[in-house]
């Protein structure tokens, strides 16, 4: 998920021991996803097992420095040259909520849109406030806040789109129970 390669990258300019890697990773990423030292050592052990780093001898204080191997350098090069695939795991809870509300006819999709829009707008307002307060020198944080803001913005635009589609779409009839394998009966509100 990027931590492995992130550590490899931080070794590219020379050997470092585990704690130094933790400090450097945190600094590079604006401490957005602060690593714990244990995580760093576990990752280094796996990298060593896979032949991507070499462990050097311990220094006076018993700290072990790690070196990038040729295979590690190759692995890192491939990582930088390969775009990240975002098409996996793009299931989205808001989409599911909206679609099942329409399919089951049990909740007003417009209400779901309105509430989600309010929450996401508040999030975007908060992010914008943080952006205003973040010094331009804090590059890592500017970059994180830009990404989160644009994601919130995209969701707001998408909600507008959904609203328009709902307004123009043919009225949806709730899914009828399908005959087939028995399912647990869901208690109905009231009865007709």
């Amino acid at each position: 998920m990027g931590i492995r390669e992130g550590l490899l990258a931080l070794l590219a300019n020379g050997p470092k021991h585990g704690y130094q890697l933790k400090v450097d990773f945190d600094a590079a990423t604006g401490e957005a996803w602060s690593l714990n030292v244990g995580q760093v050592y576990t990752t280094l052990q796996r990298l060593e097992r896979d032949g991507l780093v070499d462990a050097g001898p311990a220094d006076d204080e018993g700290r072990i420095s790690y070196n990038l191997t040729a295979a590690g350098r190759e692995d890192l090069r491939t990582w930088f040259e390969t775009p990240v695939n975002r098409s996996v795991a793009n299931r989205d809870e808001v989409s599911i909520k909206l679609l099942v509300s329409i399919a089951a006819g049990i909740a007003d999709p417009q209400g779901i849109i309105d509430r989600q829009r309010r929450a996401t707008m508040t999030e975007l307002q908060d992010l914008t406030g943080l952006r205003g307060d973040t010094p331009a020198t804090d590059f890592a944080w500017q970059l994180h806040l830009d990404r989160l803001s644009l994601q919130a913005e995209a969701e707001l635009r998408w909600l507008d789109r959904v609203e328009q589609r709902l307004a123009t779409a043919a009225p949806q009839s709730p899914l009828q129970p399908t005959p087939g394998p028995p399912v647990a009966t869901v208690p109905q509100e009231g009865s007709r």
């Binding site: 829009r117 309010r118 707008m121 908060d126 992010l127 919130a152």
Partner: protein
């Protein structure tokens, strides 16, 4: 939020409605609007085309009269004011940036900006000094002597913004003020508006862009002339660390 902000809102609208035409032609442009904007507050107004945003702004600035309800600016009922009183209030306290820029073609950019100040009795020299500052704030220093038809669309829009923001104004009303501007210039304008509010003005900003609306303390959404939802900036804003956790 400013703790010693005066309790009287700069803008107060109560059950405001505006109907155009009658019978089959009847359009309820805005309906039953309750809205207060205090000094220091920036409120964004969003909503689909035709949802009543411009109508709301016109009513807030006294450019249009409500069919029902009342509008107060700094405690004064606009409905009770004489035409001249209303005109004076509009020149003195209200800054308006129109959706169509409404620049006077026979006047230079600088003259367009100084006009409201001069009409209000500011001496020419101070008016010019204030106009220079306003033009500089919108990135048009040095273009004061150009006529509107010698400026690009985005530059004309920025002259209109300078004219709306020039001098001390307690209520700023901006109707899609960044429509003709690129993203970076727009963000500069938003910062300017935000800065005016942080310095004590109250503002209503109409925009279609979520990213620009997000500069506001509150975002009001209109649907068919009614206020439908309001999103508020969190009372306790999250920390940088919290937003990524």
């Amino acid at each position: 939020m400013n703790h010693d902000a005066p309790l009287t809102p700069v803008l107060s609208m109560r059950r405001v409605g505006r109907t155009h035409g009658s019978g089959a032609q009847r359009v309820d442009a805005v309906v039953d609007i309750d809205l207060d904007v205090h000094a220091g507050e920036l409120v964004a107004v969003m909503g689909r085309s035709g949802s009543g945003k411009t109508t709301l702004l016109n009513l807030a600035g006294g450019l249009d009269e409500p069919t029902t309800g009342t509008v107060q600016v700094s405690g004064d009922h606009l409905g009770d004011m004489s035409k001249t009183g209303l005109a004076a209030l509009r020149r003195r306290s209200v800054g308006y940036v129109f959706q169509q820029f409404n620049l006077l073609p026979a006047l230079t950019a600088g003259e367009n900006v100084t006009l409201p100040l001069e009409l209000d009795g500011t001496d020419l020299r101070s008016a010019r000094a204030m106009a220079d500052i306003a033009l500089e704030e919108v990135g048009l220093a040095g273009k004061a002597r150009r006529y509107p038809d010698e400026l690009s669309g985005g530059e004309q829009q920025r002259v209109a913004i300078a004219r709306g923001l020039v001098g001390p104004r307690s209520l700023l009303l901006a109707d899609e003020p960044t429509g003709a501007l690129d993203e970076i210039t727009s963000e500069g304008i938003l910062r300017l508006l935000r800065g005016r509010c942080d310095a004590g003005a109250a503002a209503l900003l109409v925009t279609h862009e979520p990213a620009y609306a997000a500069w506001a303390d509150r975002v009001v959404r209109l649907r068919d002339g009614r206020i439908e939802t309001v999103s508020q900036r969190s009372a306790v804003p999250p920390s940088l660390a919290e937003v990524l956790s």
